[in-house]
Subunit: 355 residues, 2 copies
DNA sequence: TTGAAAGCGGTACCAG
DNA sequence: CTGGTACCGCTTTCAA
């Protein structure tokens, strides 16, 4: 409502003095300071951040772009980002791409023109699409008035040597999941993947293959079925295998949604977990400890990923271009959480309480 | 990077002409238009929304404030808001109050100073706290340069006759839930509430009481236990009743989290659902169809709530102050979803597929 | 149809 | 320590 001019007039001082007390610079006499503060109170003035942003080209707004807001995997990440952002006084925009590069680029463009201070993104720009390549190359050149607008990617590092990332080792996680299945005595292991045009999809397949190889289990490509993140797909995939009379005694699903679908299918068809088939998911979302039997999974430190991303963003924003030539890729640890779908009696369901 | 001045210079035209082609006003000659468009392309210019916002006092930014981002209840609402916002070209800020009025007020103040066009909020300003009252009263006066900044509340209408709301009938929903328990033959019904200092908490208790009354079941206040939204609490509450040897054959939990906690407790203690105890939750989140036995619940159209809120916001923003004196409260329908915790054999678990 | 210039609400430099 | 003023990048009158 009221602006700085009004305050200046009311306080009977110059506009710059008002500015000084607001951003409390030292050089203001106590008397004037009091006058100005009173005027501010009486007018209920608060500074227009949009004007301020225009002037100092700094908005304290961070854009957060994920593939799908309702993908349960992201909600904890968003929480981590949000809590940390609040700590430092940033506001955050949140939006989703629905796995469309088109949408992603559109969103980024829009945020850039809103002069966000930084962008945290779960990018879908992977693979050798020409458009994607140009876009990823441009990421390190985002700027406003010469100062760089940092981009931090979630889950995996994009193909640009200047862009930081907060990730986990997907290959290793998959390797451990599958090794665990082998350890509990399984050999015919099905792998339900996330889409294979994604980094995560490919890395997890690599881990799957390595685990088989190191345990001298011959690879059967038909045991790998491409998934789409949904519970429904996991459900159908298992039913299809069953209907076809395919032999399998283990399943590694690349996310928990699909694992739960698989679990449901097994339950319905009278397959005993883990005796007949051992099953392990990925992500360790709270649902894993709620289903019956409880689902083994790979824990991904989602909150920490979000928090770390925001911490890193803040660092980049405050420590500027301190000639950090090389990007920083922060890898957080995953760990296997054993429950009843792979080892009888391991309820390990404490987690069901916190959702 | 490049600004309108650069474009004007490059195209060899006046700055206003550039503005005209950008916002495509009619009065520009074809020749100039082409020149300008080429300049825009070559410079990769896109208009600075922050400067534009300052000038026209319209940012196309909407603030969305919920109590907790990770509260699963909200994620679908956010999705509805987001999808609709995208349709109309709004960006949205998302933040959480963690049920603190303090935080809520701070956030609102901050968004106001960023000149958001509107605010959609699941407010915690309920009850007769002086500070809350002042704040709620102020809601209808939020404005920038005289034009009003609309506020729309989620879940329930705040105590301000000018503020729109998108809600469901909590009293009725609770009434139906409890009536259903009675219909399936239960009489000693426990009610685990959400916090009783909330509108939802109180209304659901009212519904609970009305259902008992209309079925001539005497009210026993000790059957009402105040909850806190968490699974853990539902779990403990039931265990406490069991330990104390309390008699009960039905439970209405005011959200699904607590219902799942209660379900887990029953499962562990050998209580057979629904024979010994019938259980119904509230919200119908996807988890209801995943647990064993599947959980009866009250379906709340969360996506629609979000979408409707954003549609209404857009309406308010485009149709301005068309002297709509009176606020609009849009009430969406809830419906009961019967599953195995109240009626044997009613799996009704299609929903488990879509998460 | 076109360009100049004022002004949105601030910040920061400069002179006093 | 204080006030005047240019300017951030854009929109919009006003005159030409």
């Amino acid at each position: 409502m009221a602006n700085i001019k009004d305050v200046a007039k009311k306080a009977g001082v110059g506009i710059s003095t008002v500015s000084r007390v607001i951003n409390d610079t030292k050089n203001v006499s106590p008397e004037l300071r009091v006058k100005v503060e009173r005027a501010i109170d009486e007018l209920g003035y608060s500074t227009n951040q949009i004007a301020r942003g225009l002037k100092i080209s700094q908005t304290r707004n961070i854009a957060v772009i994920v593939t799908a807001i309702s993908r349960i995997f992201f909600t904890t990440i968003l929480e981590g980002i949000n809590k940390t952002a609040e700590k430092y006084g940033y506001s955050i925009y949140i939006s989703e791409t629905n796995d469309s590069l088109e949408t992603e680029i559109k969103l980024v463009r829009s945020y850039l023109s809103q002069w966000v201070d930084g962008i945290i993104i779960a990018s879908v720009a992977y693979g050798d699409d020409k458009r994607a390549e140009r876009y990823v190359a441009a990421m390190s050149k985002f700027n406003k008035k010469g100062t760089r607008i940092p981009v931090i990617t979630l889950e995996y590092p994009v193909d640009n040597e200047m862009i930081d990332a907060i990730v986990v080792d997907h290959e290793k996680a998959a390797y451990e999941a599958v090794s665990h299945l082998i350890d509990v005595g399984k050999r015919d292991i099905m792998h339900i993947t996330v889409p294979l045009n994604t980094y995560m999809g490919q890395k997890r397949v690599e881990g799957y293959k390595r685990a088989l190889k190191e345990h001298d289990i011959p690879l059967d490509e038909t045991m790998i079925v491409e998934g789409d993140y949904t519970s429904h797909l996991g459900y159908k995939a298992v039913n299809r295998f069953l209907d076809a009379g395919r032999k399998f005694d283990g399943i590694f699903a690349a996310n928990d949604q699909m694992a739960v679908g698989a679990l449901r299918a097994c339950n319905e068809r009278g397959i005993i977990l883990p005796d007949d088939v051992a099953l392990i998911g990925n992500d360790n979302v709270f649902v894993s400890s709620i289903v019956e039997p409880s689902l083994s999974s790979i824990d991904v430190p989602r909150y920490e990923i979000g928090a770390t991303a925001m911490e890193r963003m803040h660092y980049l924003l405050t420590h500027g271009e301190k000639k950090e030539k090389k990007r920083k890729i922060i890898t957080l640890d995953t760990k296997i959480v054993v429950r009843e779908t792979t080892v009888k009696g391991e309820r390990n369901n404490l987690k069901y309480l916190d959702w």
